[in-house]
């Protein structure tokens, strides 16, 4: 069941991460990179960045608690070791996104208040549901919730954030590209682990489908509500015009990210997140179940 992990060990992880894409980085970005002046000087942009980063910190705190908790729930040695490396990946993500909050002006003694005030309630509910499964040492539920639902969906969001930052904020883009590289392994683990489980134990299919149904709602609601936050395209235009700054032409899935309306962003994200998610489930042998509002 863990044949896909045959070539994976701590040495491989070190050569890929610390000696690979993280080499010469500081908190995930290149030394000397800073948040752009435009973002730091315009409160509207800075506040929006703080709110987005708060969701990233809280999502990663959830993943850190889940992956560390799953180590002792894993039934085999290979999965335990993989989850040990994932735990350090998640701890690093918490650290780099927290550092970004400090860089954006959040004071260290205000961190927890800022996180609690701005976290999306749906993300909190998702974390509670996932960590309840982990606390019960339910390995399959934990992997479905964390590596398939949470990380499968976050993978698309990180890619979109990365594309929108490459030209305007190289520091954030670098942090995200390292995170995306980590996520590839995490979603790969989830898909391969659950895919092989379903193949060898088809009687578990209904069980996994129910888990997906139960755990998807809050994640989708988190992404949905995040797009109603932040400045409108008109407000952004006004600020850019005032400062005489050109929009960047970042494009993702055919949408101009820095000019898109809330509706356009929601549409493209639900099209990609849900579409990709359904395809991923289909490969594993799971039929997507529309989540009911809890």
């Amino acid at each position: 069941m863990t044949d896909f992990l045959k070539g994976y060990d701590i040495q491989y992880w070190l050569e890929s991460t610390a000696q690979g894409y993280l080499e010469n980085t500081e908190y995930g970005h290149l030394a000397g990179e800073r948040e752009p002046d435009l973002l730091m000087e315009e409160d509207t942009f800075r506040e929006e960045s703080i709110s987005t980063t708060v969701q990233l910190v809280m999502g990663e705190r959830c993943a850190l608690a889940a992956s560390s908790g799953l180590i002792n729930a894993a039934p085999d040695e290979a999965s335990k070791r993989f989850l040990a490396t994932q735990t350090l990946d998640e701890a690093r993500h918490v650290e780099v996104f927290t550092q970004r909050l400090y860089d954006l002006g959040v004071k260290q003694n205000e961190l927890e208040d800022v996180l609690n005030d701005r976290v999306d309630p749906n993300l909190v509910k998702f974390a509670e549901a996932l960590l309840e499964k982990v606390d019960k040492k339910d390995f399959v539920a934990g992997v479905v919730g964390q590596n398939i639902v949470l990380e499968g969906m976050a993978f698309c969001v990180f890619e979109m954030l990365h594309e929108s930052s490459v030209a305007t904020n190289p520091k954030f883009a670098h942090i995200l590209s390292g995170t995306i590289a980590d996520e590839r392994r995490h979603v790969g683990f989830g898909e391969n682990r659950i895919g092989s489980l379903i193949q060898q134990h088809p009687e578990r299919k209904a069980d996994v489908e129910k888990l997906q149904k139960d755990m998807t709602y809050h994640m989708l609601a988190t992404f949905g509500s995040q797009f109603t936050q932040g400045p409108s395209p008109e407000e952004v235009d006004k600020i850019m015009a005032k400062r005489g700054v050109e929009h960047s032409e970042a494009e993702w899935q055919g949408v101009k990210l820095n000019r898109a309306s809330t509706e356009e962003l929601e549409a493209v994200l639900s099209d990609t997140i849900l579409k990709e998610f359904k395809v991923r489930l289909g490969r594993i042998g799971i039929e997507y179940q529309s989540p009911a509002r809890p």
Partner: protein, 89 residues
């Protein structure tokens, strides 16, 4: 001459993919946008969207491994006649 013997071979260069250990980096590259055409020795990993490269032309039935997401892939011919990768669990 059999089909197997006619396979074109490729000299792989390092395309800057630094997400796997050094000695394997030439076997992978990132996709550069929707217009990025795959060469006959390349296949898109459906799990993590990285392009896996082989030093020979790929054919249906071949098996490759995506080290970036730890996934074993089997090459198949898609409905449109193009090669695609199926995950082997």
């Amino acid at each position: 001459m059999s089909q197997q013997q006619k396979r074109r071979r490729y000299e792989l260069d390092d395309r800057g993919f630094n997400e796997v250990p050094q000695k394997y980096r030439k076997y992978y590259r990132r996709r550069e946008g929707p217009d990025d055409e795959l060469a006959p020795n390349e296949i898109l990993c459906p799990v993590c969207k990285i392009i896996v490269r082989s030093n020979r032309e790929l054919r249906p039935g071949d098996r490759v491994y995506c080290m970036a997401c730890l996934t074993r892939l089997r090459i198949a011919e898609g409905a449109d006649g193009k090669l695609e990768a199926e995950v082997e669990y």
